[in-house]
Amino acid sequence: MFNLLKKPYIIFLSIFSVYILFLALVTRVIFIYHLSAQNLLLLGLLGIDFSLPFWGIYLFAIGSFLVFSLISFKLFPRPYSYYPLLIYAITPWFHYLTVARSVYIYLLFLTLISFFGLILIKQKKEKLGLALFLAGSSLSIYSFITPLFMYAILLCILKITKLLRPQITKVMVITFIVTIIPLGALIRFRPQAFENMYQNEVTIFSNPGLLSDSNRLQGDSKAMGFSYLAKLSENKYFYVGKYSLMKLLYQFTPSTYFTPEEKLLNFSFTPPLFLGFLIPFIYGFYKIIYEKNLRKYLLILPVLVLPSFLSQKIVNLNHLVIIGPAIILFSGYGLTLLSKRKILLLMTIVIVLTQILFTTLDIVQREDIRYHKNFGVNILNDLGRQ
């Protein structure tokens, strides 16, 4: 019998309430602002103009929280499984993007479904797991362009590292190919529509300064008599390669996630995740590197940063949101380990509680003023395409 008065349900519902309360708080303050709408790939190719309604994004956000809960319950024993949930509930990143109606919350939901599927496969519930993985990945691929690369790379990683049973990986690869055939056909018929959508989503090299910088550096070197050496080290391929590597590394920098270095929605001073969680994150990450069995799962991380990597900004927190749950899982894992190290745990709790207090006050008192200072009073409805 489903008894809501049981302790686990009460704890879960309490955390869920915290999540909803925080979401409500952010909604109350910045609901008026939203990112520009983005059409889904399939609908765009079919010529249908559509954008997800705001309540749809809210539903996907809540759905993401619920799927993340299932993941947490699968990965951690109770009561440790509540730690990641609690971190998720109070993470401003998800709330801000939900309120700003980011379509990437929908991608977050689909990605979580896929990864929940992978966890189920790993835990021998292969049929259900496979179904969920295929559902999540197919919908992602038909909704956005970057997941096509994401899942292709993920399957390669799964194949090389043998993280799953070879037969299962084989089925996944075949299904992936079958899934993308109709999409390929559709793109063939509507190349212009695809081109437009591609240029909106994959903007990594659209920075005009990139080539001019490279040309200037090569020109200066040649003028000083380094013509042969400059061809080797100052050419555009080396320069663009360096830029790409820098961009990739930026996606893995702690300050991206735990400080307001990159502004949420381009104006907020709220960090994506609370700084206090950096301590358990580092500890959890360190322990995962230490554990031979867990280490190889880190190879999946680069896949999750791909949407942000392929965008024009060095770090695009909107596109990067799908890696958020992974960061939270590391922090949650670290937090479970920290329960044996009381001083670090206490430090974490004190920092997080203090930051929650100040951030909440800051959101209520100043987020609105800040928006107006940054974008002017007349720009209420569009923060510009990210």
Binding site: S221, L229, K242, Y250, L278, R366
Partner: protein
């Protein structure tokens, strides 16, 4: 040839190569002495000639400068250098390049002491030879690498002390404390390092209580003068000046009313304090950003374009491998027990970034150079793992391809560094080395007899007159101005922003008034000497930056009779 002899020969060759990279065309690149360099040099010259600094203080521990205070070790090193080479560009840069070269054998012995593995020690020293971070700062006559090498010596002797006691006890205390007299960052770093060392080696220190007492007493004696000056003297002013609470970003954050005074507990504004702490942690984490580490950290090219980071790109995989090896404790280590080694190496690096995180400026590679010895040690450990990895490859063609690919990558990185240093840096950053000040002063000195007064505007800059260039020190330096005379003649009016000596005045030029001055030579940027308001025959000299932009004008107004 026995092993000891070959070790010394290899080490000598590495040091020689390191010296070559640090001394080759030392006076030409960086293209000009910067204000810190001339200020250091003239203070030393003043001590050499009069026994007093330029403000008339006898053998000071802290040297006053314009809006700043200088450390004693660099200045007294310069006294020796100037006694030998004289007051010139080479004499100024010599001790810093020398200390930079000295760092190579020091790192070798430190790495060897930590790991008792010669290969790792050679690799670490070899990496220091070509380290862009270290070469860059060794060629600038500035104090960061000096602090680094003295602190590294301190750690080396401390580890020797743990092993053998004896004279190392005093040497450890002396060098650890001396580094605090060498560079300001060490004044934060060394006390934290002391805590780390005492915590790590508590058992050992307790066991040898007598030598521990000697070590602590010696340290206390050496540091006492500094403590007095830091808390009650002028050194506190320097600390206050660069403290992060004075940071532009932070002040702007407060000024924009993002933080209100809010809750006040015993005079401490809780919200402001929390904002400050968050900023400190943010700054700390920013030093781990990839652009600083691998792409732009040394600021050698135009803003926005990718130049050189403090580390090479090929250091990245080596660092990852090295970190993994250290954590796993699998590398061939016959030195310090990993129980001490891992926290010491990581702790040293972690502490190195704290002084920089507490001070203003987003990224300051000089303030964090302390981390370099241990970073290179980790890279060297990673390198040994990489070699082992290559050796284990069975297929010869894959092995050859891997070696060729990696070799090419290293070669391209080194060529890129060479071109950045010799082509882009002198052109793109000549303004920040104050290119033009020397030429202006040389012109002034050649023509000073013709004028009653020479006015030099301290503010310059192509985009805006925002760079304070300390021209007074350039005149003192290149004129080899008699320090005794300077000590008597110095006039300073901080309120009016005027200073000077003899016929020289350092002040802002206001052309609508100054254009009527007679027998006066003016030197300033086009911001203070607007070209449209000056007749062609009034301009005596135009001085350009390396990239061809006009930096300074030398003007003699010819007022209507």
């Amino acid at each position: 040839m026995n092993s000891k002899k070959s070790t010394l020969i290899i080490l000598f060759l590495l040091t020689l190569l390191g010296g070559l990279l640090r001394f080759y065309k030392l006076t030409e690149n960086p293209v000009s002495l910067n204000p810190d360099e001339v200020s250091f040099a003239y203070s030393a010259y003043s001590v050499l000639k009069t026994g007093k600094d330029e403000y008339g203080k006898f053998l000071p521990i802290t040297f006053k400068s314009v809006g700043d205070y200088k450390n004693p070790v660099p200045v007294y090193s310069l006294v020796l250098s100037e006694a030998v080479f004289g007051l010139n560009d080479f004499g100024e840069r010599f001790p810093f390049a020398f200390f930079g070269t000295l760092a190579i054998p020091v790192l070798f012995f430190l790495a060897f002491q930590l790991t008792k593995n010669k290969n790792i020690a050679f690799l670490a020293a070899g990496m220091l030879v070509i380290s862009p971070w270290h070469v860059f700062y060794s060629r600038y006559g500035n104090d960061p690498p000096m602090g680094m090498v003295v602190a590294s010596l301190g750690l080396l002797f401390f580890l020797k002390m743990i092993e053998k006691r004896g004279i190392y006890t005093i040497l450890a205390a002396f060098f650890l404390v001396l580094s605090m007299y060498s560079y300001y960052s060490e004044r934060v770093f060394i006390p934290l390092l002391f805590l780390l060392l005492i915590t790590l080696f508590f058992g050992n220190l307790k066991k040898h209580l007598k030598s521990t007492i000697v070590f602590l007493t010696a340290s206390a004696i050496f540091v006492s003068l500094l403590v007095l000056r830091s808390f009650f003297g002028p050194d506190l002013a320097r600390g206050n000046m660069v403290f992060i609470a004075k940071d532009v970003d932070y002040l702007r954050y407060i000024a924009l009313d993002h933080v209100s005074p809010g809750l006040n507990l015993g005079g401490i504004h809780i919200e402001e304090t929390f904002a400050l702490l968050t900023l400190v942690v943010g700054r700390y984490l920013n030093y781990l950003q990839p652009d600083f580490l691998f792409f732009t950290g040394l600021n050698m090219t135009h803003e926005g374009s990718l130049g050189l980071g403090v580390l090479y790109l090929f250091d990245l995989p080596l660092l990852i491998l090295g970190i993994l090896e250290l954590i796993k404790g699998k590398f061939p280590n016959r030195g310090l027990n990993t129980k001490y080694q891992v926290p010491l190496i990581f702790g040293w690096i972690a502490l190195s970034f704290i002084p920089a995180a507490l001070t203003n400026n987003e990224h300051n590679a000089g303030r964090t150079i302390q981390a370099l010895p241990m970073v290179l040690l980790i890279s060297a450990i990673g390198f040994t793992k990489f070699i082992e990895f290559i050796r284990k490859m069975k297929q010869v063609y894959i092995k050859t391809a891997a070696v060729l690919f990696c070799g090419l990558f290293v070669l391209i990185s080194l060529i890129h560094a060479l071109i950045t240093y010799s082509v882009h840096f002198p052109v793109d950053r000549s303004e920040f080395s104050m290119k033009g000040n020397k030429e202006a002063v040389e012109y002034i000195l050649a023509n000073k007899e013709k004028y009653q007064e020479v006015v030099f505007d301290p503010f310059r800059g192509v985009d805006a007159p925002a760079i304070y260039s300390l021209p007074g020190y350039y005149i003192l330096f290149y004129a080899k101005y008699d320090p005794a005379l300077y000590q008597k003649e110095l006039i300073e009016n901080e309120k009016k922003g005027i200073s000077g000596f003899g016929q020289y005045r350092i002040r802002k030029i206001y052309w609508p008034n100054d254009r009527y001055a007679k027998d006066t030579l003016f030197v300033g940027s086009p911001w203070s000497l607007p070209l449209k308001d000056i007749k062609e025959e009034e301009i005596l000299k135009r001085i350009y930056l390396s990239n061809g932009q006009l930096a300074l004008l030398v003007v003699n107004p010819k007022p209507p009779k």
